[in-house]
Amino acid sequence: MYEFNVLLVDDEREFLETLVKRLLKRKIKVTGANNGEEALKIIRETPPDVVVLDVKMQGMDGIQTLREIKKLKPLVEVIMLTGHANLEVAVEGMEMGAFDYLMKPTGVDELLYKLEDAFKRKKIQEQKIKRLEEEETPERG
């Protein structure tokens, strides 16, 4: 099991709190954010590895938040949470670089698997970038 940071964004406070508690119990470092703005603030200060983002939120909605996240930290993986199999939003999210999407209500185990997958991808991406940087450095030097 890798150690990684998760940010959970949902405007349904009860849902958010419970899911945070459940993930904490599973030894995941997780923070909750109630809306898009709060989430962006946290990402700027302490960037997480994976963000779980509700599509339908009051104020700044999921897609907007996703766009901002990808601007700030392109390597942060995002899992979309949708109320139903909304293909349009899902496709739009994926096009903008979301890792995957899950339908609400979702089982915690399913969420865990997705989180791990997302984190693995992030690791791979980071390693790739690292390698590229290493290859470039000696040439310059």
Binding site: T18, K25, G83, H84, A85, N86, M103
Partner: protein, 553 residues
């Protein structure tokens, strides 16, 4: 009620059509008949007038000739010459030889005594001084008498003329042969009942009538009714029969030649024409009535059918409106329920997480708690399925158009179900038209539609049976049919199967959304779906999709 309206409409149309056809037809035929009668009548009157004129001329000529020959004899010979019986007889013979029509000839002196006489009667030495005609001859010189009896007591008329010879006056007198004269008059008779006769100023008959009527008896005609020239008039006789008369004065307005004709006899031809006309008009009316009835009947039936079709269309529109409204409502409800449901799911999960801790496991109700939480999760999952179905139904996405090969989509969709069908001993047969056009449509939505229909068919059969899948092109549409030999859908349910949440499956086994989603998807692609089902035989769902040719890229 509806029938009543159509029946009233039909009656009105028939009434108006008949009115506007009959009024001109009948008035036209009446006017034509009236005009024709007038013309015919004028013609008859002209004819009878012409006959009267010609015949009166003939009679005048007859009298003029006789008068002329008598005048010639009187001018040629002297009293003494004529007084000799054999000479007078010879002259009488010449006169009859030349012009004819004389019965006798007599020479009378100024005292009125008949000096010489040739003829069948014994009239010699009789004195005519007191006879009315004698005075007339003395005053006028030449005189043609009316018919009178005279000494011979036989109706006759005479031509007499007076001559002056050396202070001596004498009179030459001839009697006209009644037979010859009457046959001349009678020449103007026509038809079976027509007559021609002469009456004098007092109205007494001067010639015999065709059917009875004594000479010198009084006629029922009033001579003063007839004026100058030729007069035509119609008068009823004593039996009330209408008789047409044409009359003309002759012999210096002392005789009236009358030609009579039975008006009805002449009109017989006209009555025949009238009968023919009535028959034609009646047939025409009959034809109009029949044609009007049948065409109106046909029109009304057409109207009825058109109305019914419009009503059916309206009912369909109302139905799809209803479905759309239900869809919107379902979407709203689903969204509102989904969030609390998610919270319930998470809370349940959290409780389960807590149950893994030791102190809980020691509790005597641990098993009960765990079971209850499991049940809650199970039912949350059930509710979730319903809500996702509802949201799918409510989804109003614009179809994403791509090039779609219907047969390929069908084959692929079928493969999802093949293993399930095989284990339940259900055979899926396909009969796909090979050269279907590639159409522009939404592949994912089509797949969902076919999957729903095939799943329904397989579910309907349960075990042991077959599903028949066909695709074919019909004009500008592609028709895809899914036929199963399951139990069929009862008639009372057939109109409701496309409504959301309508299901005949056991509670918990189906959401009742499959067919309504299918309906919505097919409608959004511009297609139609209908079903044909018979209880005990099976059900066929047919989807018709418009052939939309993909744009060339």
């Amino acid at each position: 009620m509806k029938r009543q309206i159509y029946a009233n409409l039909q009656r009105k149309i028939i009434f108006i059509t008949l009115l506007v056809s009959f009024i001109p037809l009948i008035s036209l035929s009446v006017i034509i008949y009236y005009q024709f009668t007038q013309v015919f009548r004028n013609k008859i009157e002209e004819q009878i007038e012409y006959r009267a004129r010609v015949q009166s001329n003939a009679i005048e000529l007859f009298l003029k000739e006789r008068t002329a020959i008598l005048l010639a004899m009187a001018d040629t010979y002297t009293f003494d010459y004529l007084a000799e019986k054999n000479k007078l007889e010879r002259i009488f013979q010449i006169m009859n030889h030349r012009v004819g029509g004389f019965i006798d000839l007599g020479l009378i002196d100024s005292t009125g005594r008949q000096i010489a006489y040739v003829g069948p009667y014994n009239l010699i030495s009789l004195n005519y001084y007191s006879q009315p005609w004698f005075r007339e001859v003395e005053s006028k010189g030449v005189y043609i008498s009316d018919v009178f009896l005279g000494y011979r007591q036989v109706p006759h008329f005479i031509i007499a003329l007076q001559r002056q010879e050396n202070n001596r006056r004498w009179i030459l007198r001839a009697t006209i042969d009644s037979d010859v004269f009457e046959s001349l008059v009678r020449a103007a008779q026509v038809g079976k009942t027509g007559d021609a006769f002469i009456i004098n100023k007092e109205g007494s008959y001067q010639t015999l009538l065709r059917f009875g009527g004594e000479i010198l008896s009084k006629s029922h005609l009033d001579p003063t009714l007839f004026g100058e020239g030729t007069t035509v008039l119609e008068k009823a006789d004593k039996d009330g029969k209408k008789i047409l008369y044409a009359a003309r004065w002759l012999k210096k307005n002392s005789w009236l030649l009358v030609i009579s004709q039975d008006a009805s006899e002449e009109m017989t031809k006209l009555f025949k024409t009238k009968r023919i006309e009535i028959v034609i008009v009646a047939l025409g009316c009959l034809m109009i009535i029949l044609t009007t009835y049948f065409t109106t009947h046909l029109t009304i039936r057409r109207l009825e059918t058109a109305d019914r079709e419009v009503n059916e269309l309206n009912a369909q529109l109302v139905h799809s409106d209803k479905l759309a409204a239900l869809g919107k409502m379902a979407a709203g409800v689903a969204h509102e329920i989904n969030n609390p449901l998610a919270v319930i799911a998470e809370k349940t999960g959290w409780m389960e997480d807590l149950l893994t801790e030791e102190d809980f496991q020691k509790s005597q109700h641990f098993a009960e708690y765990k079971k209850s939480l499991g049940k809650i999760e199970e039912h949350v999952e059930r509710a979730r399925k319903v809500i996702h179905g509802m949201l799918g139904f409510a989804r109003r996405m614009e179809p994403h158009l791509e090039d779609v090969d219907i047969n390929e989509v069908l084959t692929q969709t079928m493969s999802f179900l093949e293993s399930y069908a095989r284990t339940n001993n259900i055979v899926i047969e396909k009969e796909l038209e090979t050269d279907l056009p590639i159409i522009a449509s939404d592949r994912a939505q089509l797949q969902q539609v076919f999957l729903n229909l095939l799943t329904n068919a397989v579910d309907a059969i349960g075990k042991d049976g077959n599903v028949h899948l066909t695709s074919r092109r019909i004009d500008s549409e592609i028709a895809i049919s899914v036929r199963d030999n399951g139990p069929g859908i009862p008639k009372e349910y057939q109109s409701r199967v496309f409504e959301p949440f309508f299901t005949t499956k056991q509670s918990g086994k189906g959401t009742g959304l499959g067919l309504s989603v299918t309906y919505t998807l097919v409608s959004s692609m511009g297609g139609t779906i209908d079903l044909d089902s018979e209880e005990g035989k099976g059900t066929t769902f047919t989807v018709r999709l418009p052939v939309v040719v993909p744009e060339k890229k």
